[in-house]
């Protein structure tokens, strides 16, 4: 059973596919957009843009450090570089370059990490970016977005280009459930309440929003009214929505496809502790590397399931 199935959600595009299509469309209108690739454009889907605009696309080969700094240079000449690679290689291989060539000088570079999380599957832990959100959030001024589905990814891609300054956009490999409909609002730093409820709040992002919807559906059968918030922007965090949820529902569970430290859970906990302390529980990959396997099997094994979220809710409520 896929995440979102229990709630009747339909499987849509993978977020990386939605990004690739959206970037090309944005490139049609905005001649400032350029791409810098580390030879994985057919995986990250920047190839859609690159095929349309070869003169604005630069594949530097398998050299992520150079890739990121080249983007910094391009930004300082007025262009809007979109740098895409696997989240693991972009954030981990080129972290110092992101720090010094992008973040510190506040360059208008858009970093796109695809194949994030354990749902990449069979390729295994070396390819799984599961610490990327933590690393990205550590950098001053970095906007960090983790969209839940294809529709919000398209909106996030447009918002990222519109935003002046460095952005990290985290995307996944597999097809995911459709949470949104065309025309739904998306604003950086403004969480979306995708299900209303009064008894407890589940704050999630990425594919765990669909998992949260399933958990809410199951808990509803037990008579519990569950609020689900899609916290697509981890930084800057929508503290107001969190404070409101804490105040109105009295307990919060955070679900994310990320290590236990430094991701959405840490960010929400900091906000809750400083505004309206309430019991909290966390659903994430934990403090470990995962392994090879089929994506669904991995999500089950590492506890990224509706069942795990339901259990977490019962710990705090």
């Amino acid at each position: 059973m896929y995440l979102g199935e229990l709630s009747g959600l339909k499987i849509g595009q993978a977020t990386r596919d939605a990004f690739g299509d959206a970037l090309k469309e944005l490139g049609d209108k905005n001649p400032g957009i350029v791409t810098v690739d580390g030879d994985v454009g057919n995986s990250t889907r920047t190839e859609v843009f690159a095929q349309a605009y070869p003169e604005r696309s630069f594949n530097v080969g398998i050299a992520e450090s150079n890739m990121v700094s080249v983007a910094g240079g391009l930004a300082s000449t007025g262009h809007i570089p979109v740098v895409a690679s696997f989240a693991a290689f972009l954030l981990c291989n080129a972290y110092d370059q992101i720090r010094m060539s992008i973040s510190f000088p506040n360059m208008n570079v858009k970093l796109v990490g695809t194949h994030a999380g354990i749902s990449i599957g069979e390729d295994g832990p070396s390819q799984m970016g599961i610490e990327d959100v933590s690393l990205a959030c550590s950098l001053p001024g970095m906007v960090v977005i983790v969209p839940a589905d294809a529709v919000s990814t398209k909106a996030a891609t447009a918002a990222m280009i519109e935003h002046e300054g460095p952005v990290y956009l985290r995307l996944g490999r597999p097809k995911v459930s459709e949470i949104y409909s065309e025309g739904d609002t998306f604003e950086i730093g403004k969480a979306n309440t995708v299900r209303e409820g009064d008894d407890v709040t589940i704050i999630a992002n990425g594919l765990m929003v669909a998992g949260a919807m399933d958990a809410a559906t199951r808990l509803a059968e037990e008579g519990m009214s569950v609020r689900v918030i899609d916290m697509h922007t981890v930084k800057p965090l929508d503290v107001e929505a969190i404070q409101k949820a804490a105040h109105e529902t009295g307990a919060i569970v955070v679900a994310e496809e990320h290590l236990s430290h430094g991701g959405l859970g840490s960010a929400v906990a900091m906000a809750v502790s400083q505004t309206n302390p309430v019991p909290m529980a966390y659903v994430n990959v934990g403090d470990c590397f995962a392994e090879s396997g089929d994506p669904q099997g991995l999500l089950d094994k590492y506890g990224l399931t509706a069942t795990a979220i339901v259990e977490a809710v019962k710990k705090v409520k």
Partner: protein, 280 residues
């Protein structure tokens, strides 16, 4: 905008070089820290670029789009850049005397956010050439004739990213990109050939397809000539391996201290007096 710097004659350049050296010594001694010896080795190259007519820039309009770009990848040598920019009119000599002080934009390594005219925030070694590639690609897209110059340290060549960049610059045939390796022979803990001997830079970089020259980088005339040669090449990236001496200009004064590397420390006020007298 007419912003081509007026080219100084060779004799004028040599005098300007002394001015830069005096400023480097004065500002680092005043700061009580910094890397004067690493700055002094690069004086002739920086001097020729800024005052020999090789770069177009406008201190009154540091963001002029078609300006040439200067990246000091070996960011710890920033006193030589501050000295050149002060002489060029971006700010005053008094301003640079605030080097490394709390509240001063003249930080220990270049910070483009705080100081207009600085083209790259460097200090973590190895990134300048890649930034230069990005700027050269950007200039090409902007079709504005802007050229990019990057100064790299010889110790810095140990960073793998530089070699990624050497390959990429050739791929993109960046004829508007010139790298200068300030081969002063020393890095933090000793002679570069002892720490990590990379052999002959010219042979290696030529193998990447670059236009290469090796010169005595403390010979002002040789530096001017090498930059003239490089300016004529527009179909591929260019490198000048600039063999220099760390602390050049005041070497006898440094030798008295028994430390010819003299890495990452200022001259004491007494030693600075001697050095300034020696330069005079």
């Amino acid at each position: 905008m007419a912003a081509q710097a007026n080219a100084l004659t060779l004799e004028e350049l040599k005098e300007k070089g002394k001015v830069l050296r005096r400023l480097i010594i004065r500002m680092t001694t005043e700061a009580g820290s910094g890397h004067p010896s690493s700055s002094l080795s690069a004086v002739e190259v920086v001097n020729a670029l800024w005052f020999g007519g090789f770069m177009k820039y406008d201190p009154a309009n540091p963001n002029w789009e078609a300006r040439d770009r200067f990246i000091l990848s070996k960011g710890h040598a920033v006193p030589v850049l501050y000295a050149a920019m002060a002489e060029a009119g971006y700010f005053s000599e008094d301003d640079v005397m605030t080097l490394r002080k709390l509240g001063s934009p003249f930080e220990g390594h270049p910070n483009m956010k705080r100081l207009p005219g600085i083209e790259a925030s460097t200090g973590s070694l190895g990134q300048g050439l890649s930034l230069g590639i990005g700027q050269a690609l950007g200039a090409r897209l902007n079709d504005n004739g802007s050229n990019v110059f990057v100064i790299i340290g010889d110790g810095e060549m140990g960073e793998g990213q530089v070699w990624e960049a050497l390959a990429a610059a050739e791929k993109f045939k960046l004829g508007n990109l010139t790298a200068i390796i300030d081969q002063n022979g020393f890095q933090q803990t000793g002679a570069t050939q002892d720490v990590l001997d990379l052999g002959c830079f010219e042979e290696k970089i030529a193998a990447f397809g670059w236009y290469t020259q090796t010169i005595d980088g403390n010979d002002q005339a040789a530096v001017v000539e090498a930059l003239e040669n490089a300016a004529k090449v527009s179909d591929r990236p260019k490198v000048i391996i600039s063999k220099t001496k760390k602390g050049y200009g005041i070497l006898p004064v440094l030798e008295e201290t028994g430390d010819v590397n003299y890495h990452g420390k200022p001259l004491s006020p007494e030693l600075a007096e001697k050095a300034l007298a020696f330069l005079a």
